[in-house]
Every structure is written in C-alpha cells, then in structure tokens.
Amino acid sequence: MSSQAMSVNTVSRIAGARLRGGSLLEYVVVGVIVVLVVLFSIFIPGFATLGNLRVIASNSAALVILSCGMGMVIISRGLDLSLIATMVAGATIFSISIDAGWSWPVALGLTLLAVGAIGFVNGWLVAYVEISAMLATLASAMVITGLFRFGVLRGEYLLLLSKTNPAVAFFSSDILPGLAAPVALMIVAFVLTSILLRYTTAGRITYALGDNFQAARLTGLPVRTTTLMIYVYAAVMALLAGLVTSASSGTVDFRTVTNGTLLFEVILVVVLGGIPLRGGRGGMRNILIGAALIAVLRNGMTLVDLTTQTQDVLKGLVMIIAIATDNYFNPRDTETDTIGDL
C-alpha cells in the first residue's frame, strides 16, 4: 500500500472516530431546539402546522446551502468571509446574462465559471500565497462588492429580476407536490456535502487539514489542491444560495453584503451546530442542528411579532452563549490552539 494511501487511511480512522462522537454542545443545542419547539407549539397559534414547517424550510433554504459551503471551509480550519458577496455576484451574473438574451444553460455555465474563479482565487490566496483565510476572503469580498456594484451595476444596489427570468420561474414552482424547489435544492446541497465529507478522499483530507495541517502536509496529502477545491465548492454553494434568494424575492440586493447579518447567521449556524472554528471536527448533522435552531428561533420571533432589532439582539446573545459554551467544552490546548490561524 502506498504511503499516501496509508496516510489517508490513518487520517480517515481518526477523522471517523471524531465524526461519530458528537460534541456536548450539539446535545445542548438539540435540547434547546426541543424546548423551543414545545413552548412555541403550546403558546404560538399556527406554529405547529405542516404549512409553517414548509415556510420554515423555504425561508431557511439559502441559509442551509450557504452553511454547507461554510461548514466545509471551517472544518478545514478556514473561513470564507466572501461567501455572501459571491452569492450576490453569482446571482447578478446569471440575471444579467439572461437579460442579455442568453439561454439559461449558457448563463448558468458562465456563472459557474465566474464563481468558480472567485473560489479558486480565494483558495489560491490561502493555500499558495499562505495569507490567513479571514484576511484573504475579507479582501476578496470587498473587491467583488466594489467590482460588481460599480463596474457591473453602475452604482446600483438593486437589480430587479424580470418574471421571465428562468430562475424566478423555477424557484417559484414545486418540484413535487408540497416540495418547493428551494427546499429540494437545499436537500440536494445537504446530501451532496454530506457524501463529499464522509465518503470521499477529499472529504477525509478536509478533516485532516482542520485537525493538524502540518501533519497532513508532512504525510504527503495534497493539502493545497484540496484547499482550492474546498473554496471553489463553497463558492458554488454560494451561487446556488444566490439563485434561490434572488428568485424568491425577485431582486438581487447588494445591501445583503454591506448591511445584512446573513454572514453572521451562517457562521452562527455552523458554530451553534457544534463545528468548532478551529476545524477538524463536525459534519452535516451539525449544520442541520445549527440551522434548525436559527430557523425555529427566527420563525417563533416573527410569529410573536418581535421587532427585527430585538431578534438581532437575541441572536447575538445566543451566539455569545454558544461560543462560550464551545470554549468551555472544547478548551484550547497545545494541539488545538488557533491563535493567529484565522
């Protein structure tokens, strides 16, 4: 057996062991979700209905798709702060291509190439130029936002999509009776990411990157190419989320990048679900748990008519408690200390 295959096997056994054992935080979060669901079901009329569950799923589709991409990046001990900018940029390219008269397959292909290039540049900056992921992706977010707002949209913030836009038509429809297209896409993204992380070599290497980057590199694993693939995958997830969001609302809105809290919510989903920011642990189960808490909380707060400012305060408090709990249950040691890594 080659040394690389042996390295992957060893890493795979360690990563598999870590995958199977859940962290204490995720059990706490699951408990909180159950309590919230019970309380909301009792005290909020209309919460415990199939229709409301469909609304929760539909409203959370973009968040879950983004979290799949961000989750993979964080597991590899990275961070992609350009995810929302890529999401909006991808939706912009697709919409402009459709408005220019190109067919949707050509428009989609062009858009995939463009966002793939964004992910490639992010991955290259992290893997080859060895800039910290946080700084590299923060810079690329600013470049993308400026380029698209001023270079492409000529200063506009909003691009209204025509009703003939195929994304609008597709995402307004049901794939199957009762299964909306955004929800179906969310399930596909979720299952695909789960398969990639659990059953592919690249997925195992992703865990190795987060667990101990130097060890992974020294044992001959293709850490750089895997890093490139991770950021490209995150960018593609961002594009899918962008198509879902823009088609649902009928607009591409660059203020989502500059003013919104979506990036914060994506990181919150990942961290709350039990994927530590230092990487190397967690999986799609954690994304599901984190997204479920945010979705249930958001839905309940909307149904009781709490103001959006109050909702943001509560979400911020939940984030602080989650990180503090995560630090308590996963204390830093010599092996896992990540000061300066992000």
């Binding site: 409301n52 609304v55 009928g250 989502t256 003013n259 008519d305 959006t308």
Partner: protein, 328 residues
C-alpha cells in the same frame, strides 16, 4: 427744490419700507439671482437607488442652469459613515446642505450645528426631529392616513373580510415609518375590526420582507392587506403573496418614488396600490428650492419652508396609466 424733495421724501421712504418687508428681502438685501459658483452638498442615505438618483438628477439640472455645483457624499447605507460625511460637509461650509435623514434623531444635532453656522439645510423626504430652513418631500401623515382609510374601506366592517393587516416598515425609527404608522394607527383605532397582526421592519430588504410575509401569511391565512413602507422592499412581500397564490385575496399597499419598476410590479400583480410621491418631481422641487435658498429666500417668520410632494396613486384598473411612473 428743497420743498419738492421734502414733499416726496415720505413717499419714497414708504416705498422702500414696503420693498424691505417682502419675503425675499427678509435679510434687508435684495434677491440675488447671480448664484453661480455657489456650493451645494447632498448627503443621501445611499445613491444607486432610483429615489436618490432621481433627486440628484433634478438638483443637477438646476445647478447646470445657474452655474452652481452639487457635490454628492454617498453614505452607502452606512449610518455611521453618514454622520462622518455630514460632519465633513459642514466643515466644507457649503451654501446649502441637502440631507436625507435615515432616522428622526441621528443627524438632528448636526443639522442644528449647520444652521447655527449659517448653512441653510434642506431636508429631503425624510425629516429629522430638528427643523431646518427647508423641507421638500412627501407628506407621510397624509400617505399613512389615506392608505389606512383605504384599508378600512377594503377590509373593515361590511367588507366581509377578516380585517387582519400586516405592516412592513423599512426601519421603525425612520421618519416615514414613524409618521405613517402613527397616522395609520390613529385611523385603525377608530375601527376595532381592523387588527394589525404584524409590524416588523424589513431593513428595506425585499428578501426579509418576503420571509416575514411568508411566515405571517402562514399564521394568518385570512390576511386582508399588507402595508409596506417602501415599494422596493414591499415587492418581496408581494412576491410571497403571489407564491402563496393569494394575490386575489390580499391587497398589497406600498409607497415609493414611482419609477417604471413600480408600474411593472403593479402590472405583474406584485403590488396592488402604490401611493407614489414621484421622485422625479421631488428632484425638480428640490432643485427649485435650492435656487430660492441660494438667492436668499427664507420664510418670513423663519419657520421651515415646505414643499409637499403631490401624490399619484398607481393601481390596476381604469385609473392605471404607465405614464404615472417615471423612467431614469
């Protein structure tokens, strides 16, 4: 000679006194139409939206006629940056400062400071709690009241409908939302059959408005009307109504600058009734007001000069006309 001059002197003095009391001569000086080279600074919440672009276009057209400059300081929806930009603008000592207030309180102190330093402040469309030399914009009390009255007519007693209404402000502390909500709730108070089931701000974002609406519709399937405080974010709400196939049951009200996308939304049944304050017309009004201010115009009693924007009500049906909307 001397007796004739003595006879005429009181009449000349009386004529001068009358001239001096005219509105445009309040400072004791005659109106100065030579305003070339003067400086105007416009600080909007953000450029890149049809509202502020239409205003800027109107102001610049007037500036081109008279030869003064209009300099735009774009805050890009960043309220922190807006305070800093306004502080810098004040230090540049323009002749007129045009301010677009994101909330009723944020820039109040700086507006007062500018006025005390002799800079005339024109507030556009969104007022601050601090009065200034002039205001050009929509009468939010009238819009809130008229929309609420229409809602009562469509959803109130005798209509056979539930009376349930959802309100979607942009931000609860923005001037338009504060005033419209106050006016609307005053109307609804006299009609207990009207129930406001949701009043959540969307941060001016269509997607957030869509999500709020999708959730509210689910809980209140007999919802009668939605009142959105800006046509752009209300389109998200309208989309949610359409996705739920309730466009014939729920009336979506909005207010906005009335550009061609608003008319398109009405044609597509995303929005039903829009109270448009015609941003293009507001741009012209703002330009005219700046011309007057630069020529020395102030109110005789030094209160705030006001130009209220005329309304255009855009709704499908016999009154609909594409020309009600402007194109940038």
């Amino acid at each position: 000679m001397l007796p004739i001059m003595t006879n005429r002197l009181p009449r000349v003095a009386a004529a001068l006194t009358i001239l001096a009391s005219l509105v445009l001569c309040a400072g004791g000086a005659r109106a100065n139409s030579n305003i070339a080279g003067k400086k105007v600074i416009f600080v909007p919440i953000s450029m890149g939206i049809s509202l502020t672009e239409a205003w800027a276009r109107g102001m610049k057209q007037h500036a081109a006629i008279y030869g003064y400059t209009v300099d735009i300081r774009d805050a890009h929806f960043n309220t922190g940056a807006m305070s800093e930009l306004l502080a810098k603008a004040i230090s540049d000592k323009p002749d007129v400062l045009v301010v677009h207030n994101p909330t009723v309180q944020l820039l109040a102190r700086q507006i007062k400071q500018a006025e005390s330093e002799g800079i005339k402040v024109l507030q556009i469309n969104l007022q601050s709690n601090q009065p200034s030399t002039a205001f050009v914009g929509a009468n939010w009390e009238r819009i809130g009241r008229e929309i609420a009255e229409d809602i009562v007519k469509e959803c109130g007693a005798g209509s056979g409908k539930s009376g349930e209404v959802a309100i979607i402000p942009g931000q609860l502390t923005a001037a338009d939302s504060v005033i419209m909500n106050e006016a609307a709730f005053k109307v609804f108070a006299a009609h207990p059959e009207i129930k406001v089931v949701s009043n959540q701000a969307s941060n001016w974002e269509p997607e957030k408005a869509r999500q709020i609406t999708a959730t509210v519709i689910q809980q209140h399937p007999n919802l009668c009307a939605i009142f959105g405080h800006w046509d752009v974010h209300t389109m998200g709400a309208g989309k949610a109504v359409k996705d739920a196939h309730l466009e014939d049951k729920i009336i979506v009200y909005a207010t906005g600058g009335g550009d061609d996308k608003t008319c398109q939304a009405v044609e597509d049944k995303i929005l039903d009734r829009v109270w448009s304050y015609d941003a293009a017309g507001q741009g012209r009004d703002a330009g005219t007001m700046i011309d007057i201010l630069l020529q020395g115009g102030v109110a005789a009693d030094h209160t705030m000069l006001k130009i209220e924007s005329p309304m255009k009500i855009i709704k499908a049906g016999p009154t609909y006309d594409r020309n009600l909307c402007f194109k940038l």
